[in-house]
Amino acid sequence: MSFRLPDVQRLLFPVAAAISLNLAVATSTQAAEPPIKVGLVAALSGQSAKSGEALTRGLTMAIDEVNAQGGVLGRPLELVRRDDESNPSKGMLAARELIQREKVTVLFGGLDTPVSLAIVPLANQLKVPFMGIWAAGTKITENGAADNYVFRVSAVDELVDEALVKYGADQGMKKPGMILINNPWGESNEAGFKRALEKRGLENAGVERIQDSDLDVVPQLTRLKNAGADTLLMVGNVGPSAQVVKSLDRMGWDVPVVSHWGPAGGRFGELAGPSASRVHFIQTYVFTEHNDAKGDALLAALKNAYPQIESLADVTPAVGIANAYDALHLSALAIENAGSTDGEAVRDGFYQITDYDGLIKDYRQPFTAQKHDALGPDDYVFAHFVGDQIVPLNP
C-alpha cells in the first residue's frame, strides 16, 4: 500500500514561495531600499488554482533573477498576490486593493478572461499598467480606451482562432464543427472561428456547447457528426476537453481535434486517457528535453526552487510559467526606462523597450502605442500530450 501526500506539498508551496521571496529580499544588496511592489490577481484556489500556481512560479523566478542583478532602479521587486477565485467582482476588488493600498507599480492578471475584463477599466482609470499573462480574450488589450494601460504577453483569442483554423486547413479540414465551453471565452472564440473560416470560404458543421459539469458529450458530438464535421475545433478547460475526448472514444468517432490551449491546464493525459494525444493544441511555450540555454536554466531553477517538480510532466502549465517569466522581465525593463514607479511613465516605458531576449522569443520593440500584445501568431506552437507530457508537434 502506497501513501502519498502531494497536496501537502501544494499547501506548503505558498510558504516556500514566501520564504524564497523573503530570502531574496533579505539577502539583496538593496535590503535598505523599500521594494517596488508588483501585484498578481489570479485564481489561487478552485479548479483553476494550478494556473495561479504556474503564474506565481514564473513571476517568482523572474523576480529572483532581477533582484540578483541588483533589482530595478536600485530597489528589489516584491510580489503581492491576491486570489480572484475566478470571480470578476472579487478580482476587481482585489485589483483595487493592490493598486490603492499596496501601491503596486504593475499589476499582473490571471487565467480568466471575465476577471481581466473587469479589471481593465479600473487599470485605465487609475493609470496603472495591467499586464495580461494568461487570459486570451481579444477585448482585454483592444479595450477601446483612449488611454490604454493594458498590455499582454500571452495568446490572443482572435489570433489563436486564425492559427487553429489555418492549422486545421493545412491538415485537410473542409467543414469543422465547433465544440465550445459555454461561457464568454467560448463565445469570443466562436466569433473568431467564424471570421477565420469565412476568410477561407469554409463552412462549418455547427456550434455545440459544453459545460464543466457535462458527464457525457455524446449528444452534442452526434449532432456535429451528423452535420458532416470532418474536424473538431475545441475550446474548453481541461475537464470539459477531457469529457469530449472520452465521449469521442465511446462513439468510436475518429475525428481530428484542434484545440485552444485548455487541455494544457492540467492532467489532460490522465483525464482523457490514451486518446489525449489526438488533440492538437496551441501553446506559447513548451519545456522539452532540448530547450535553449534560457529554457534549461529556468527549468533547473524551477526544479531547485520547487522540489515537487521532478519531470517535465510536472512543469505545467508551461505557458503560465513562460508568459509570466517574460512579462515580469519586460515590466522590469519598462520601470527602468520610466526611471520611476509613476504609472504613466511606466506605461510609456513599455513603449521604449527595444530589445529583450526572452524565453518565448527575442522581443524587438514588443509594444507600441498601437500594439499592446507582445506575442503574435508566429509565436504559437502546436503540441499534444504523450502520456503526461506536452510534446511539440513538428518541433
Binding site: R4, R10, K50, L271
Partner: protein, 289 residues
Amino acid sequence: MFTAAIVTGLGLGSMYALLALGFHLTYVVSHTVNFAQGSAMMVGAVLGYTLCITWGLSLWLALPLTLLLSALYGLVIERWLVRPFHSRGSQAWLMATVAGGILVDNLALFTFGKEPRQFESSLLNLKVELFGNAIGALQLLIPLVGAAIALALFLVRRYTRLGKVLEACVQNPRAAMLMGINVNRVVAIAFAISTVFAAIAGLLIAPLFSVNAEMGMLFGLKAFAVAILGGIASAGGVFVAGLLFGLTEALVTLYFGSAFTQILTFALVILALAIRPNGLFGSQALVKV
C-alpha cells in the same frame, strides 16, 4: 444515435434519481432535506479515489469503507446541522446544510487537491452491443444500479422491520415515539442512507466523469429539482422524475442543440409544476385540524 442518447439520458437520470431519493428519504421521515447531497456525492467519489488509487486498497475493501464513511458523514450532518435547529422548530437547518456542503467541498479542495483526477475502471473499456450501437458497460450499469437501489428501498420499506419503523415515523412521529421508537435514531439512519445513495452515485459516475472537489454542486441542485418534480414524498415518483429529467436533457441536446438544453429542460420542469404543483407523482398533504 437515438439509442446512444437514450443510454446517456438514463445514466444521467439514474444519477439524479439516486441523489433525489436521498432528498425524499429524509423529507418523509423528518420534513427536512440535506442540501449537502451534492457534496456527499463528491465525498463518495473523492473517498473512493483516495482509498483505491492513492492508498492502493483493493476495490472490495475500498467500496464498503467509502460507503461506511459516507454514512458517517450523513450522521454528522443530521446530528450537528439539522437536529439542533429542527428540534427547536427553526428552519435554520436549510442554511446549515448548505453551509456544511460548502465547508466540506472546500476541505476537499485543500486535502484532495484542486485538479480533477481520473478514476480508472476496467468497465470503461468494456463495450456491449445494443441495437447496433456499442455502449459502454458502465453506462448500462448506472441505470441498472439506480433501479436496483430504488427497488431495494421499496422492498425495505414494505417488508422489513426497519421499513415499518420508517413508515411509522413517516405517518405519525409522535405516536411512533410513544410506541417506543427512537425517532431521532430513525431520522439519523435516513440521513445516513441518503448520503450513501449520493456516494454510490459519485462512485458510479467517477470513471465516466472525473473526480474533483467541486463536482457535486450542480448535480445536487438538479437532483433537488428532480425531487420536487417527482413529488418529494413519492419514492417512485422521484425515481421516474430523475429518469425523465436525464432523458429530456439528452434528447433536447440531440434534437435542438446544447444551447437549448438547460433552457428547455427547466422550462419543462416549470411547466410540469405549474400543471401539477405537488409534483408529477405527488399528492397534496392532508392537514388534520
